[in-house]
């Protein structure tokens, strides 16, 4: 073994590295890291409002999402139902809620992954506040939303008022899965929610 004058400092360094690793591991597993690094951009005071029209397409240039959108309803357990596995590269718009552009939160869900690879909303956690989301609607208008924040919640701890209940202006909620995989009927433990607000409109 090395001389004791070397082993002393080595012991301290190894133990400190261990403490750091344990700390990093715990913050990652508990989502503390996400909470600490969370940013948000408040929506502008003025906003446009559109008539009701169903969404047909979603584009998020900053994370490379370009996909068709179809309507989805409620699943048996009362959660929003999701696109079936063979349409995993499409997004699902909750058709009992507002359409994107009218007052209230338009809810669009998308899979994070399939059994063997990434799916449409896999990169949603990387979406930055300020990024633009463009929704093409059946009336050929395009609703342009700006991301305010991207947050992670336990599936049963979703803040329902913030996600589903804000009818003060036209907004958009992009929802996918994240966190630990627990399988069973739960799948992933958490939901990733991107909060966005309507800032502009244009014609396709």
């Amino acid at each position: 073994m090395a001389a004791p004058r070397f082993t002393g400092p080595i012991a301290i360094v190894v133990a400190l590295a261990g403490v750091l690793a344990v700390g990093a591991g715990l913050t990652e597993d508990t989502g503390l890291w996400d909470a600490l690094s969370r940013e948000s951009t408040p929506p502008p005071r003025e906003f446009p409002v559109l008539e009701s029209s169903r969404p047909i397409r979603i584009e998020i240039p900053s994370i490379g999402v370009r996909a068709p959108v179809h309507g989805v309803g409620l699943a048996d357990d009362g959660s929003i139902s999701v696109p079936s596995v063979h349409r995993h590269n499409e997004a699902g718009w909750y058709d009992r809620g507002p359409t994107p552009g009218e007052f209230g939160p338009a809810l669009i869900v998308g899979h994070a992954d399939t059994k063997d690879g990434p799916s449409i909303f896999f990169s949603l956690p990387k979406l930055q506040p300020g990024a633009k989301v463009e929704i093409t609607r059946r009336d050929r208008s395009i609703a342009i939303f700006e991301v305010n924040s991207v947050e992670r919640f336990g599936k049963s701890k979703l803040p329902a008022d913030r996600v589903y209940g804000d009818y003060t202006r036209p907004s958009l909620r992009l929802i996918t899965c994240g966190g630990q995989w627990v399988g069973g009927s739960t799948g992933y433990q958490d939901n990733i929610v991107a909060f966005a607000s309507l800032v502009a409109t244009k014609n396709a």
């Binding site: 002393g8 190894v14 990652e28 597993d29 009701s52 999701v82 009992r96 007052f103 899979h111 992954d113």
Partner: protein, 162 residues
């Protein structure tokens, strides 16, 4: 005659200035809803304007029946709750002014209630390999190794000094 024409012209100009510069006289008849999309069971704000906004007017719709809008800050306002059992669809909203003017708007009523929990949006193929768990495990091992090394060092030092 020229003098009279000039006076008439001046009066006309004055009239134009007066009517355009005084905003108390409402320019248009309208009715607006905020929010224009609402879940059944929730409150809707109504903002309306008639030629004379000092007198109440009536707003009527199949979505909430008939309500009176009252003067407030140069416009006519009211708040009304859409009953929770209203069918989800678009409803016409009509304003009838005291002076006979009318305007209309549309209210989109949605089904009440909300999704209960978060959707199941993934099949697990890209699930985290548990790098967090790996870090915790590795860190524990490093702490133990460090402690053992420390104990060994102290013992050797003590042995050397004695």
């Amino acid at each position: 005659m020229g003098g009279r024409g000039a006076i008439a012209a001046a009066a006309a100009v004055l009239a134009v200035v007066l009517t355009t510069a005084v905003p108390a006289r409402a320019a248009a008849t309208y009715v607006e809803l905020n929010p224009a999309t609402v879940q059944a069971g929730y409150l809707v704000g109504i903002r309306a304007s008639c030629d004379d906004n000092t007198k109440p007017a009536t707003v009527e719709s199949d979505a909430f029946g008939e309500v009176k809008v009252y003067p407030q800050f140069d416009v006519l306002t009211a708040a009304v709750t859409v009953p929770a059992d209203k069918d989800p669809r678009r409803y016409d909203v009509r304003l009838s002014c005291d002076g006979g003017q009318a305007a209309s708007a549309r209210l989109n009523v949605l089904e009440g209630g909300r999704p209960s929990e978060g959707p199941a949006t993934g099949f697990g193929g890209m699930a985290d390999d548990g790098s967090g768990g790996l870090l915790v495990g590795g860190g524990m091992v490093a702490i133990v190794v460090g402690a053992l090394l420390g104990v060994y060092t102290l013992r050797r030092r003590r042995a050397e000094t004695t």
